[in-house]
């Protein structure tokens, strides 16, 4: 008992929990200031609403922090503040768009920010539950096939359901239930990553075995191609049946990266690129909506009156923001359709400018880099693969959504993690956060002093983690 108290106090210092508190307060100050500015410019006064919203946000962060202190005291101290800051910025922008909607149509205005705050609460609950239920991430490795199957089923449900239970704005990737609706893709993504990590670890030796050598490349044996082909076909199926380009791209890129990480064989990447090229070409020539996305991407203003309208408006918004932004509450982000979901990037870019967007990108970069650091430092291969997969999936999702809005790549329609309005996405991302915290707690827990003489010297040495995972 005394030991455990001492250990926790030590964790507070060594685990970086005080840094975490400091950073969380920093996030609260930024978000509070942003919310106050928004309210000042749109309402000309600061009302009690703001206090409630901030109190709610602050309270949720306090719960999250307490849960981390108790259940993962050595976990990485930067991940939660990054998520909290992104979530908070999202709340402010969603609130700002609510006010715009209210100003235009006071009768029918819905306050999305309240719902998003509720989803934040559920997200943090999901995070805490995950931290409690998952005391050791390695347990997950045992359920590789089960979770994979669950992930596929979840992904398949919208495909099977009739459109009225599964389709919103042309994408058939929802489960619409009375009262609420979820995007199963967000959750199946996590399940598939876990499953992939588990399968890859158990079959690693198989994958690493070289097949023929062609032009200096170790080609895998044909029967090892299975998982890549499976991922490839899965992403095509998602694309074909759910018309969901974003998720299909996300799954494929993540699986490929995990296979590469597990085997360290570049040949897998080349095979992946070839398969992607084949899939993309096939999709382009087979599906009208893929062609439309590409055409719109090449010349959004040329299709201004039709499919290019949203992208054009988004670009107008970004351009209007320029470097410094119009300031919160002074732009017209509501001109862009879906300004608080798919196009929240454009809303941030308009009012906070390039400076604001780059700041958001950097927060993501910190989140992704810290996650990859976890992958590097954790000792078990499963943890490494899982953390890499989760970190990379955030990176790909960010790339796909921001790249789509800024016309770097064709629009595919994904949510900006933690920022965009949407319950499923928020919930799923908090679960990802919890898993990452869990793995990092494992990686960063100091070896108990009493246990060290019993441990083999190699495992206790600082280089052990690296070697064990290599």
């Amino acid at each position: 008992m005394l030991d455990s108290i001492r250990q926790r106090r030590q964790a507070g210092n060594e685990g970086g929990r005080w840094s975490e508190i400091g950073l969380l307060l920093f996030a609260v100050i930024i978000v509070g200031f942003a919310a106050a500015v928004t309210m000042m410019s749109l309402e000309q006064s600061i009302t009690v609403d703001l206090l409630w919203l901030l109190a709610g946000y602050f309270g949720l962060l306090a719960i999250a922090h307490a849960a981390v202190r108790i259940f993962a005291p050595y976990s990485d101290p930067y991940l939660l503040p990054c998520a909290a800051l992104l979530n908070g910025i999202g709340l402010v922008v969603i609130y700002r768009l609510d006010l715009a909607e209210q100003a235009m149509d006071p009768e029918n205005a819905s306050f999305d920010v309240v719902r998003q705050l509720m989803w934040t609460l559920l997200g943090i609950v999901a995070m805490v539950v995950t931290l409690i239920a998952l005391r050791d991430h390695r347990i997950l490795a045992k359920f590789g096939y089960t979770l994979g199957f669950a992930g596929l089923v979840l992904l398949a449900i919208p495909t099977i359901l009739p459109s009225r239970f599964s389709e919103i704005n042309g994408a058939k990737n929802w489960i619409l239930l009375p009262g609420f609706s979820i995007q199963p893709g967000e959750f199946s993504k996590i399940l598939l990553i876990i499953s992939m990590a588990a399968i890859l670890v158990s079959k690693r030796s198989l994958f690493a075995t070289a097949g023929k050598r062609v032009f200096g490349l170790d080609l895998p044996r044909a029967r090892d191609l299975g998982p890549v082909l499976l991922a490839w076909m899965l992403s095509l199926v998602v694309l074909v049946f759910n018309s969901d380009l974003g998720t299909s791209l996300l799954i494929f890129a993540t699986v490929l990266t995990m296979i590469y990480t597990a085997t360290e064989k570049v040949s897998w990447l080349l095979i992946g690129v070839v398969l992607f090229a084949i899939g993309a070409t096939f999709a382009y020539f087979t599906f009208g909506h893929v062609r439309v996305r590409v055409e719109t991407w090449i010349d959004p203003l040329g299709f201004y009156d039709g499919t290019g309208y949203q992208l054009s408006q988004g670009l107008f918004g970004l351009a209007t923001g320029g470097v410094g932004g119009t300031g919160l509450g002074n732009g017209r982000p509501q001109q862009v359709p879906f300004a608080n979901t798919d196009f929240i990037t454009a809303s941030i870019g308009e009012e906070l400018g390039l400076i604001g967007l780059i700041a958001v990108m950097l927060v993501y970069a910190i989140f992704i880099m810290r996650s990859i650091r976890i992958a590097l430092s954790v000792r078990d291969s499963f943890g490494k693969l899982l953390a890499t997969g989760l970190a990379f999936t955030i990176a790909v999702q960010l790339f796909v959504v921001v790249g789509g809005v800024s016309r770097l790549i064709p629009m595919t329609g994904l949510t900006m993690p933690f920022v965009a309005y949407g319950g499923s996405s928020l919930l799923a991302n908090y679960i990802i956060l919890a898993i990452l915290l869990r793995i990092s707690n494992e990686a960063r827990t100091p070896t108990p002093a009493v246990a060290s003489p019993a441990m083999p010297p190699a495992a206790a040495s600082p280089g052990a983690g690296r070697r064990a995972g290599a």
């Binding site: 201004y304 732009g331 390039l354 790249g403």
Partner: protein, 489 residues
């Protein structure tokens, strides 16, 4: 495995950096063209949510934005009765038809986005209110503007003429009147009612008189005999004097051709030999055409360009066309150019500046229409300063030209009681046959009183092929001078 994870982290970073670069590309490098895209309603909505600045002249408000309840929070209006006479200068500002005139050229200042208003924007930003646009104050004298417009509307008593008047203050280049007829009511184009707005636009754009065009600055026509002021200046510089003997014959052979050029209506210039002064006063063509070889093309072009006839549009802060000689080919064309025919073109403003240069002892000033730019709190942001455009002729020659123009005025049967005027009339033939109506011109100034005017009548009821500068344009010019002397000084 860590080596691969490090490579994955590099890939993730590359993706984030690619996003940042693309965002920079859109928000910095493509920003201007995207912002200015006509389909980007943000700029328009922004403009309409700001109070646009006023356009004023001598304390009178010509354009103002007032709070409105409609789609947009501000309504642009042009207070009557000044809206119609001032319309070709002020222009209009319409949600549907964009802008014209000063509303267009001074848009960034009026809407407040001009860099000269940055401190105003900063104040607006700090105080949290929408910044207002700045005001544009004009040099126009309302009395002169009304006199000019009313005279054009009256015409010869049979209805409105197509034509224009420009009056300037010779010592400073301030434009005092800039009337164009027919004109329009800009309120019709900014009206909140879609149907009446498009009906008004349709009617205006199909009118043969081109009411949306500022005839004083945007239309350039053959100047006819008013060009003889420039030719006379060139002749004086080439050694001729007012007393030099010239031919008083009624016609002469055009150099290099077998065509005879006549004086107006074939009349003689007294026959035999007369003085250069007399030839100028009677506006005989023969002596000027015959003086062409003495002057030479180079000299002629040089003097014309010093008078502002260099083909370049003057910068008066609104759309304008230049005056110039055009192309002079052979000697016959050159000879015709000396009497303001062939390819010579002048705007009414250009003609007024010609008279003003003589009035201002030969010094040509730059014409200016904007007296000052003001911040919304009426503090002056920028004030007009008189600028010299260059010496047209020496003071001695200017003085000689003044005497010759006084003689011309005496011959054209005008004058204002108690005021001595120096002037030149012009009648420019154009088109073929006798049925075509000539453009009639009048340029004048009042020696010692710092005011100059030019009138150009293009057509209108009562204007026939017999109309000359002295009959229609002259009286209008004198009326404007009278109004400016009585009211403005």
């Amino acid at each position: 495995m860590n080596r691969a994870i490090r490579r994955v982290s590099v890939a993730a970073m590359v993706m984030v950096v690619a996003l940042m670069l693309q965002l920079t590309n859109v928000q910095v490098f493509q920003a201007n063209s995207l912002k200015q895209d006509p389909r980007n309603s943000r700029m328009l909505l922004d403009e309409f949510s700001r109070q646009r600045g006023q356009i004023t002249a001598d304390g009178q408000v010509l354009a103002v934005s007032t709070p409105a309840d409609g789609l947009v929070p501000w309504q642009r209006s042009y207070p009557d009765p000044d809206s119609v006479p001032f319309a070709p200068v002020v222009g209009y500002y319409s949600l549907q038809y964009a802008t014209a005139g000063l509303e267009q050229t001074q848009d960034s200042f009026l809407n407040g986005s001009d860099d000269r208003l940055w401190s105003e924007r900063l104040r607006g930003f700090l105080s949290g209110r929408t910044p207002q646009g700045g005001n544009v104050d004009l040099t126009l004298e309302p009395a002169g503007q009304h006199a000019a417009y009313d005279a054009l509307q009256r015409g010869v008593g049979q209805g409105p003429l197509t034509g224009s008047v420009a009056a300037v203050r010779p010592s400073t280049g301030e434009i005092l009147s800039l009337a164009s007829s027919p004109s329009f009511n800009p309120n019709d184009l900014t009206s909140g009612d879609d149907a009446s707005r498009s009906a008004a636009m349709e009617q205006l754009s199909s009118d043969p008189g081109q009411p949306l065009l500022n005839h004083a600055t945007q239309v350039s026509l053959p100047p006819g005999s008013i060009m003889k002021v420039i030719t006379a200046a060139a002749a004086l510089e080439s050694g001729m004097t007012p007393n030099s003997p010239v031919s008083g014959a009624n016609n002469t052979l055009l150099p290099g051709t077998s065509t005879y050029l006549e004086n107006y209506a074939g009349s003689t210039c007294g026959g035999g030999t007369t003085t250069f002064m007399n030839a100028f006063a009677l506006s005989c063509n023969v002596p000027f055409v015959e003086s062409a070889p003495t002057i030479g093309q180079e000299k002629f072009a040089d003097v014309a360009s010093r008078f502002g006839f260099d083909g370049n549009a003057p910068d008066i802060g609104m759309p304008a066309t230049g005056s110039g000689l055009g192309t002079i080919g052979d000697d016959a064309q050159f000879a015709m150019s000396t009497i303001g025919q062939s390819d010579v073109r002048a705007t009414t403003l250009g003609a007024a500046m010609m008279a003003a240069s003589v009035s201002n002892n030969g010094m040509r000033m730059k014409p200016q229409l904007i007296r000052r730019l003001q911040a919304p709190n009426l503090s002056t942001v920028e004030e007009m300063k008189p600028e010299e455009a260059g010496e047209a002729v020496s003071p001695e020659i200017a003085s000689t030209l003044t005497d010759m123009m006084k003689a011309s005025e005496a011959h054209s049967g005008g004058g204002i009681p108690g005021v001595e005027i120096a002037s030149k009339t012009g009648t420019a033939e154009h088109g073929e046959g006798d049925s075509s109506v000539p453009y009639t011109w009048y340029i004048a100034f009042v020696p010692g009183r710092d005011v100059a005017v030019a009138v150009c009548i293009e057509s209108g009821p009562g204007i026939t092929s017999d109309t000359v500068g002295a009959t229609v344009a002259g009286p209008i010019g004198r009326e404007v001078l009278g109004a400016l002397l009585g009211g403005g000084q």
